[in-house]
């Protein structure tokens, strides 16, 4: 059961940070799709929840002059999947945000909350790592910017400091010669594997590849061996290369057992999903 708590609704970011900084057992609260669950299950107790919904800086999706896309950490999955800015630059991400979890979660859950919770079985982190997104944080002592790799330290563990709030997720400009594709499978409520494949093409070959596998272990990770094996591959040989990806994609990747799905199957699943993501990218490239 959920224990009573005090809900605070500050109007400004500074006020919100000051509240969490000053109150005992306080934390930020946005959609509550993760936080309220763990409070209900008794895994976490908070006396004070500071609601970030009223704070304007955390809302919305905007495109900067530098080409970067700024997604307010409080933007819901629905906000993101219905954003034209996101859909134009990263259609795969818009589609991913459209499919994750279920409609109730997508309607109230935020991308920022998803990242801060660092649930390993999550879709967006793998994508954000693949495209080298930046995370903007603000705490009592100022602002800093981290990569996803720096931010997500372990399962349910981030580099967030006390009273620090995730402000925004910044997506780099999507170059014309780059194609990003995502594939995921969820057999229970959370995904068993969620992969993102980012390929850069130069003339008739892949000039750069970055493949990230999420939801299979504590944190999303780059499949270096698989990424490496695709670099320099000619477009007409990409299908063959995709089929030759080693099972598990990289010997350094760990695939952990879930309660109902074995690590062995997840390794196979991730491999097939990456292959399909690569082929989808190749197909899209042909279409360009």
């Amino acid at each position: 059961m959920i224990r009573p708590f005090t809900l605070h609704r500050p109007a400004t970011l500074d006020e919100a940070i000051a509240l969490v900084h000053g109150l005992p057992e306080a934390t930020f609260y946005r959609g509550g799709t993760e936080l309220l669950q763990v409070m209900k299950m008794g895994f976490a107790r908070f006396e004070h929840l500071v609601d970030l919904k009223p704070i304007a800086e955390l809302q919305g999706v905007s495109a900067g002059e530098d080409g970067w896309i700024r997604i307010g950490a409080g933007a819901t999955h629905r906000d993101i999947s219905s954003s034209g800015i996101v859909a134009r630059a990263y259609p795969a991400f818009a589609a991913l945000e459209c499919r994750l979890a279920n409609p109730r979660v997508r309607n109230v859950g935020s991308l920022g909350g998803n990242l801060c919770f660092a649930e390993p079985h999550s879709d967006p982190a793998a994508f954000l790592l693949a495209v080298d997104a930046r995370l903007e944080l603000q705490g009592p002592t100022g602002r800093r910017t981290l990569t996803v790799d720096e931010f997500v330290l372990d399962a349910l563990t981030t580099d967030l400091r006390p009273a620090e709030v995730l402000l925004a997720i910044l997506l780099p400009p999507a170059p014309d010669d780059e194609i990003v594709t995502c594939e995921r499978r969820a057999f229970v409520e959370r995904p068993a594997a969620s992969v993102t494949c980012r390929l850069r093409f130069e003339d008739d070959h892949v000039s750069d590849a970055r493949i990230v596998v999420g939801a299979v272990a504590d944190r999303p990770a780059v499949a270096r061996a698989a990424s490496e094996s695709l670099r320099g591959v000619r477009l007409d040989e990409l299908e063959e290369a995709a089929r030759s990806l080693p099972d598990g994609l990289d010997p350094l990747l760990r695939y952990e057992d879930d309660p109902t799905i074995s690590g062995e199957y997840k390794a196979h699943l991730a491999t097939v999903l990456v292959r399909r993501a690569v082929l989808a990218a190749a197909e899209a490239r042909h279409g360009i």
């Binding site: 059961m1 224990r3 009573p4 299950m41 279920n102 499978r185 057999f187 229970v188 409520e189 959370r190 879930d258 309660p259 109902t260 799905i261 074995s262 199957y265 196979h268 699943l269 097939v272 292959r275 399909r276 082929l279």
Partner: protein
């Protein structure tokens, strides 16, 4: 049986509770309270099997807001053991815990938070004991004994299953069979002998278990989310040494049952806590707690069938290991049903089926929609398609050669088949073909799949296949019901029924029967349900018995009321001077000459002061049309069209067709809804639902890890109803609502087989399982 049923029989009138439910007006147990009510939380065992060395509740008793802290030691005045089949289930653990989640201590407090906090102050010292989760392992010589000593036989009667004690963990062994097995298997052209596994499942209901209990000068009152008010009443009466009349069990709307709310679940505990608290107590479980309170029985079934070269079944042998958890609950009956249902609705010259209800340290099993049929039908219907493939016979043709014909008896003494199974099968084929969906290359081509070279599927997602399965189970319904119909002074009607509204729509259907029988408008009928202090006895709301059996009781009660009314009308208006006038019954009253006297007029004239009423009574017992068992055969056919992503092992269900052979659909829309819901529930288990244990604990006991189907998972689904008026119930109705679950898993496995050539003998057919099977087959 009436030639033309009167309105509104056979009409899809809107559910009478629809408005209340969609507006939130409908009252469920959780919405109710009692003056002075306190709240309870339960401390549960963290061990699958342990001896309780000591329990220290003193600190918890002193905690703020705490009203009572109760362990078994505090209940010396209560009969602690309850149980439907065997009285082996303690209200709170006595000396031992036998599954993770078993209630050990109950805390009652002014509010939930105080109860929750006090729970953490209770100290229990456990000595862990060896445990066993698997039913086959539980029967090994060196398996830990889960019960010491024997238990008393439980509340249910009328079954021949004897409680046997060959092994300490063998709760019950049931045999069912006839014929010469040696002759059957001796001359067979083909014998198939395989093992099938059906999983434990959670009957997810939107409303978890919840009950309110209070003792007062009159006795015990319990408001609960249960299916069978009178069975709960009987159990409480015995546990608390009260006459039946002193135990009032009242059931408001129930947010889904599916068998999981059969018999007593949390009512004895809630009442015990109320007794010690001296105040009304509410106990409301979470979904996670509900998942370790009851589940379906998993089964391993070894099935051997002997066939002639032309596909005729010569004989069948089955052993079912049924995992019942540590308390018998209803598992002996589920096992008994499984032994009877593993044969299927086929002509089998010789059958030898045994079912072993086994004690294990998994959470207690109980009833689950289909009651032993889903497990047995999975094995039986899968094996028929295997035989069809081996013999080179179309699987539907093979079924047609073996299906019982109308009137034919499945076994000596059984009620003759009250369905046209061959025609039902034809309907299923037609319905599936007519179901919209993606075009299929192999639709209607159930020839054995050619061997496919490894890797040929590669990226071609979607080897396509169609599968069918027939379920024909002897309905578990018992013919013990009564009903009261009151025709009031204005001609409106109150029906008193012990049937619970679980969401299945029975209160609409029963009101339709009363309205039809009395010739009054449906708007004039009110149903009073499931309150043991107000309505008369009904055995249960389950086993698809409400429409045929309670329906029959209401039909008879209405006839009884009409008979009295006609008698009164004859006394009042049947003479003109010395002349005897003919009193003819007609819709809503009688006609004498050219004058119509409505029920209202007759009642008012009879009593003379514009008031009064008629009470009609209807009884159903094992007599007359309901003498033979089963009372009816619950028959359904499922057709499924799937494609299989061979790389990932993922099954995509495109189309699903159900045929429910219901005899007569009193309300076709509701009957179709039951079939669609049952098929969906069956699809959940066929594709992914499975409670899994590791180290003695349930590892996916929440809705994140245990995913029930949601509307977006629905394939294109068409439901057809077979209405031939051949059932025992009103207007030839039979029960529905379980039938369309039973054949779903084998229909799916058959479709996967025809798509890929790979036979899945373990449900659910998860992607990982299918992938492994495909990998084995292709290597």
């Amino acid at each position: 049986m009436n030639a033309v049923p009167p309105p509104p029989i056979g009409m899809s009138v809107p559910r009478l509770d629809a408005r209340a439910k969609v507006t939130g007006e409908a009252t469920y147990t959780i919405d109710l309270g009692m003056p002075g009510m306190c709240h309870a939380r339960v401390l549960r065992s963290p061990y699958p099997h342990a001896r309780i060395r000591s329990i220290d509740v003193e600190a918890a008793r002193r905690a703020p807001g705490v009203v009572a802290v109760v362990s078994a030691a505090d209940l010396s005045d209560v009969d602690l053991l309850y149980g439907h089949a065997v009285r082996d289930h303690p209200i709170l653990a006595v000396e031992r815990v036998r599954h993770v989640g078993e209630p050990v201590v109950g805390v009652v407090a002014e509010d939930l938070l105080a109860a929750e906090e006090a729970l953490e102050l209770v100290e229990v010292d456990y000595e862990p004991l060896p445990f066993v989760i698997d039913a086959v392992e539980a029967l090994a010589d060196d398996a830990p004994a889960i019960h010491a000593g024997s238990a008393e036989r439980g509340a249910y009667g009328g079954e021949r299953e004897a409680i046997q004690r060959a092994h300490p963990n063998l709760c019950t062994r049931i045999e069912h069979g006839w014929g010469d097995m040696e002759a059957a298997f001796g001359g067979a052209a083909l014998v198939l002998d395989d093992v099938y596994e059906y999983p434990m499942a959670y009957a997810y209901a939107m409303e978890p278990y919840v009950a309110i209990a209070a003792f007062d000068a009159h006795g015990l009152t319990v408001v609960t989310s249960a299916q069978h008010a009178f069975m709960v009443q009987a159990e409480l009466s015995r546990c608390f040494h009260l006459p039946l009349s002193a135990v009032r069990v009242s059931i408001p709307y129930v947010g889904g049952g599916y068998g999981s709310k059969s018999y007593s679940k949390i009512e004895p505990l809630t009442a015990a806590l109320a007794l010690r608290a001296g105040r009304p107590v509410r106990l409301a479980l979470s979904i996670e707690e509900s998942m370790i309170t009851a589940r379906s029985a998993s089964a391993r079934i070894r099935l051997a069938t002997a066939f002639d070269a032309d596909g005729r079944i010569r004989g069948r042998r089955a052993t079912c290991w049924v995992n019942g958890g540590p308390y018998a609950e209803n598992t002996p009956r589920v096992a008994g049903r499984m032994a009877r249902r593993v044969g299927g609705p086929y002509r089998i010259p010789a059958l030898a089926a045994e079912a072993l209800a086994v004690y294990t340290n998994a959470a207690p099993a109980g009833s689950y929609r289909g009651l032993g049929a889903p497990q047995g039908v999975f094995a039986g219907e899968s094996q028929l398609d295997e035989a069809a493939a081996r013999l080179g016979i179309d699987p539907l043709e093979l079924r047609r050669r073996n299906l019982l014909r109308p009137g034919e008896r499945a076994w000596p003494g059984a009620r003759g088949m009250d369905a046209d199974l061959v025609d039902d099968l034809r309907m299923a084929e037609e319905t599936l073909s007519a179901t919209p969906g993606p075009a299929s290359g192999r639709d209607g081509d159930p020839a054995p799949a050619p061997a496919r070279p490894a890797g040929a599927a590669a990226l071609a997602h979607g080897a396509r296949g169609t599968g069918f399965a027939v379920g024909g189970s002897d309905a578990g319904a018992e013919p013990t019901s009564s009903a009261v119909v009151r025709v009031l002074a204005d001609g409106s009607v109150i029906v008193l029924t012990g049937s619970s509204e679980l969401g299945q729509g029975s209160s609409t259907v029963l009101a339709q029967i009363a309205a039809g029988e009395l010739g009054v408008d449906l708007s004039q009928v009110r149903l009073v349900r499931s309150d043991t202090a107000l309505v008369s006895y009904d055995r249960s709301t389950g086993a698809s018995r409400t429409t045929p059996i309670m329906g029959l009781a209401i039909q008879r009660a209405a006839a009884d009321a009409r008979q009295v009314l006609v008698g009164w009308a004859t006394a009042l208006h049947g003479r003109e001077g010395d002349r005897v006038l003919e009193v003819v019954e007609e819709r809503g009253g009688v006609r004498v000459g050219d004058r119509h006297y409505g029920w209202s007029r007759i009642i008012q004239d009879w009593f003379g002061d514009g008031a009064g009423e008629v009470v009609g009574r209807g009884y159903v017992r094992r007599d007359g049309v309901t003498a033979e068992l089963p009372l009816f055969w619950e028959v359904a056919v499922i057709g499924i069209d799937v494609s299989v992503d061979e790389e990932l092992g993922e099954i995509h269900v495109h189309r699903l067709a159900t045929v429910g052979d219901v005899g007569c659909a009193i309300n076709p829309q509701l009957a179709e809804g039951q079939d669609a819901g049952a098929a969906m529930m069956g699809l959940g288990v066929a594709l992914r639902e499975e409670l899994r244990y590791a180290d003695g604990s349930l590892v996916n006991g929440n809705l994140f890890e245990y995913r029930v189907p949601r509307p977006s998972d629905l394939p294109e689904l068409c439901s057809a109803l077979a209405e031939r008026g051949d059932g025992v119930g009103p207007y030839g109705a039979k029960g529905g609502g379980e039938g369309s679950l039973n054949p779903v898993a084998p229909a799916l496995a058959n479709a996967v087989f025809w798509a890929t050539g790979v036979r899945m003998r373990e449900a659910p057919l998860t992607p990982e399982r299918v992938w492994r099977a495909l990998r084995r087959a292709r290597s």
